[in-house]
Subunit: 436 residues, 2 copies
C-alpha cells in the first residue's frame, strides 16, 4: 500500500478554491494555505470600498466553505518560499510542508510601476483591508471638506481622482459620483457634496481597453452622464499627499485611488528563478500548455499568477471565470498524473466580458452580442449575485442592493480604524501606516 | 433682534443624540461633535465582537440620522478641552467653538484600575474598533490552536477568559461558548473546537451584580449549561501575553477579554477641575439634580459621564435607557433656560433590567416580574431589535439573527486588519498597536 499523495495548494482565491473542490472525491491529502481566513469575492470588492456592502457580505471563511470536504485541511499562513528540489513549501512561522503535487495560485496585487512612494497617497484595491482603507479615505474626505477653513482646502478634499480606466477604475469612479450626487445629498451644511469632482484618469486612448471600441465609447458616455470627468491619453506624472500631476499641471486633490497596475505575487519570480522559467513583465509565470511549470510536471501555476496564451495568440485575461477554469483544469491534470496518464492542454472558454459602470449603467460583450445601459446592468447584477458564494451572502447582498437602489442609501457608511476625529494630518499618517 | 442661541453637544451616543433630536423644533443653532462618524447601538456591540453582526449593522452615520433636522450641524472631531470661563469648546485641530449652552456627553471607556499594561493583552469593548479587534483575536486563536506544534500551546490558544461578570462579560462568555460548541464544529482537522474552555471570572460573589439574587443564580446555571466555567470571588491578579494569574495560580491563556471596569471620559475631570465640582471614583461628574454643572447653569452633563443619584439613594445605572432619558431631560432644561424658566430635576424612570446570556438564554427583571431562559431571550431580542435605530438596520439584524438561529452560523467570521497569516508573535504585536 502506498501513502496518500500529498497535494499542497497555495491561495484560496478562485483558482485555488476551485481546484480544491474539484479534488473532493480523490484519495489525497490536500493542504490549502491562504494568508486570509476567507475566500473573497473580488468582483464585488469595489462595493465594500464604496460603502454599499459590508466586508462579511462578500467573503466566506475558507474553513466553512470546505467543512464537509474531509480530504482537505485549511491552514492560515503566509508562504514566503518554495523549494522545488526538496518538494517543500515553507511557511512564515518556519515550518515546512512536503508535497507530491503543488498548485501555486497566490494571485496578484496592485503595482505602482517603480513609483512605490505613490502607494501611501493612492491606495489600490485587492483585499478587504484595502477596501476598508479606501472607504475610510472617501468618507473622511467629505468630513474634511465640511470642516475646511478655506475654499482651496475644501476643493482639494472634494476632488476624487481614480487612476486607471480598467473595470475597477470605472466601477470606482461611477460609484463615487453616485455617492456625491445622491447618497450624501442633504447631509452637510457647509458643502454641497454634488459639487465634488470625480475624475477618471486613463493613460490609454479610452476606458475599458479590453472591450470593443463601440462599448468603450458607450462607457465614456455613461460615465459622463453619471457626472464623472473622463480624462484619457494622459498618464499621471506624480502623486503626493496634496494632489497629482498631469503633464505639467499639478492638481490639488486629497483622495487619489489607484486602479492602474497589477503585479503577480512574488512567488512567481521565486518559482521562475528556481526552475529557469521566464516571467512576463507583470511577474506572471510562463507555464506549459497544461499549466505545469516547465521541467516540473508536479508543480502547477494558475489564476492571476499564470501567463497563459490562447491558440489565437491572445493572453487569457485575469478575470474570475478564467481563474476558476484554470483551477478545475489543474485538478484534472493532478488526477491524470495520479493515474499515470498524460495531462491535456488548458483551453480557455471565453463566455464574454462584462463591466459595471454605476447606477443602472454597465457594458456587456457576449462574443459578438453587445449591449449597454440598464439591460447590461441587470445582466451584470444577476450574474454577480448568482456567482456569489454561499446562499446567505447572496440573499444579504440582494437585499442590500434592493435597499440601496430604492433609497440611494449605502448602509456601510461607517468609518472604522484609525482615529476618525483626529486632525487630517494625523489621519493621513495613520492611513499610510495601514497601507501595504 | 437677538442672535440665534448656540448649543454645542459633545458626543453622539444615546444622551447626545436624544438631546439633539429633542431640540429639533427650537430656533437654535446646534453643533453636534463626535469623534466617530456614526451613532453606535452599543447594546449589540458584543454581537460584532463575536462575528454575529457586521459593523454597519449596528451603526448609522450621525449625518444621515440628522439629515432632515436643519438646525443641527454635525462635526467629526475630538474635543480635548472646554473653557468654562470663555464658554468655548476646543477641537483637536486647534479651532474653538463658542456656545451659549453646552451638553457634554462623551461617555465612558474601559478602565484597568491602574493596570494599564493589561490593555495590550486584554482588550475591552466600547467601540466598533474594539469589537473588530476582539473578533480578530478570537477567530485567530482557533487558527493558532489548529497550527500549534504541541499540546500545551494548543490548550493556551483554546482557553478564552472573560474578566468581569457584568452584562458585557456574560454576553461575551455565553456567545464564545456557542461559537466553540456549535459554529466551528466540523471545520478544523487537528483540534476539536468543542474542547475550548470559556471561563468567566468575576471578582464579586456572582455574575450580574445589579440583578436580584434569584436571577444571578439562574444566570450562573444558564452559563454553565452553555458550557461556560464561571469563577466567582476571584479577582485577576495579573494578565500577560501568555495568560493570567488567579490568586497564586498562573493559567496559560492566549485570549483574555476585559469587561471589568469602566472609566468616564477625561472631559469629566477636566470640567470638574475648572468648576471645583467633584467626580466619583470612576471619573463621573457629580451634577446638580437638573443635570447641570454646579455653578454653571449653562453647562450640562449626561449619560455615562454623569453621576446622578435617585431619590432612594441608588445611582442611576449606566444603561442606554437612562442615557436617552438624560438626553431628553437636558433638551427640556435647555428649552426652559431659553425661555427664562427654571429647570426641573431629572427623574429616572426604571422600566426594568434585562441581560442576554447566549443562545436562548437571558434574564429579565421588570420591577418585580422576573423571568429567565427562552421567554427572557425572546423578550430581550424583541426589545433590542425594536430600539435599534433605522428601519433598514432592524431588518438586516433580524435576518442575520434568524439565519444564525437556524444554522448556528455567524456570518461575519472574517478576519480583517493586521496580517492574519503572519506568525502569532507578529500578530500579537500588530493587535497591540491597534489597541487604545
Amino acid at each position: 500500500m502506498t501513502a496518500t499523495p500529498r497535494i499542497v495548494i497555495v491561495g484560496g482565491g478562485f483558482a485555488g478554491l476551485w481546484a480544491t473542490r474539484a479534488l473532493a472525491r480523490e484519495a489525497v491529502g490536500i493542504t490549502l494555505i491562504d494568508r486570509a481566513n476567507h475566500h473573497l469575492f473580488q468582483p464585488l470588492l469595489y462595493q465594500v470600498a464604496t460603502a454599499g456592502l459590508s466586508a462579511p457580505d462578500i467573503a466566506a471563511p475558507l474553513r466553512h466553505i470546505l467543512r464537509d470536504q474531509r480530504n482537505v485541511r485549511v491552514l492560515l499562513g503566509e508562504v514566503p518560499g518554495v523549494d522545488l528540489a526538496a518538494r517543500t513549501v515553507r511557511l512564515a512561522d518556519g515550518t515546512t510542508l512536503p508535497y507530491d503535487q503543488l498548485l501555486v495560485a497566490s494571485g496578484a496585487t496592485h503595482a505602482y510601476f517603480g513609483h512605490d512612494h505613490w502607494a501611501a497617497h493612492a491606495p489600490g484595491l485587492k483585499t478587504l483591508d484595502d477596501a476598508l482603507l479606501i472607504r475610510r479615505r472617501v468618507l473622511l474626505a467629505f468630513e474634511r471638506a465640511e470642516a475646511a477653513a478655506d475654499e482651496a482646502g475644501r476643493e482639494a478634499w472634494l476632488h476624487f481622482a481614480v487612476v486607471g480606466g480598467g473595470p475597477t477604475g470605472v466601477e470606482l469612479a461611477g460609484t463615487l459620483a453616485e455617492i456625491a450626487r445622491h447618497t450624501l445629498r442633504q447631509e452637510f451644511r457647509r458643502i454641497d457634496p454634488r459639487r465634488a469632482r470625480v475624475r477618471l484618469i486613463e493613460a490609454g486612448p479610452a476606458p475599458l481597453a479590453s472591450f470593443p471600441p463601440a462599448l468603450q465609447a458607450k462607457t465614456r458616455r455613461q460615465l459622463e452622464r453619471l457626472g464623472v470627468d473622463v480624462v484619457c491619453g494622459a498618464p499621471v506624472a506624480d502623486i503626493t499627499a496634496e494632489g497629482y500631476r498631469l503633464g505639467e499641471t499639478f492638481v490639488p486633490c486629497r483622495t487619489v485611488l489607484w486602479a492602474a497596475g497589477v503585479a503577480a505575487s512574488p512567488l512567481g519570480r521565486l518559482l521562475a528563478a528556481q526552475s529557469g522559467v521566464e516571467c512576463d513583465r507583470a511577474g506572471r509565470v510562463k507555464v506549459r500548455p497544461d499549466l505545469s511549470l516547465p521541467g516540473h510536471p508536479e508543480v502547477f501555476v494558475a489564476g492571476d499568477l499564470a501567463a497563459v496564451t490562447q491558440p489565437d495568440g491572445r493572453p487569457v485575461p485575469g478575470v474570475a471565470p478564467a481563474a476558476k477554469q484554470m483551477g478545475r483544469h489543474v485538478a484534472a491534470a493532478m488526477r491524470a498524473r495520479l493515474r499515470g496518464a498524460a495531462s491535456a492542454p488548458f483551453v480557455y472558454r471565453d463566455y464574454g466580458n462584462l463591466a459595471t459602470i454605476g447606477r443602472m449603467a454597465a457594458v456587456v460583450d457576449l462574443r459578438g452580442l453587445q449591449f449597454s445601459g440598464l439591460p447590461a446592468w441587470w445582466f451584470w447584477l444577476a450574474a454577480h449575485v448568482f456567482f456569489l458564494i454561499g446562499f446567505r451572502n447572496r440573499l444579504a447582498v440582494l437585499m442590500n442592493w434592493a435597499w440601496a437602489y430604492w433609497t440611494y442609501q449605502r448602509h456601510a457608511r461607517i468609518v472604522i480604524g484609525g482615529r476618525a476625529g483626529a486632525p487630517p494630518e494625523e489621519d493621513q499618517a495613520s492611513s499610510r501606516s495601514g497601507a501595504r
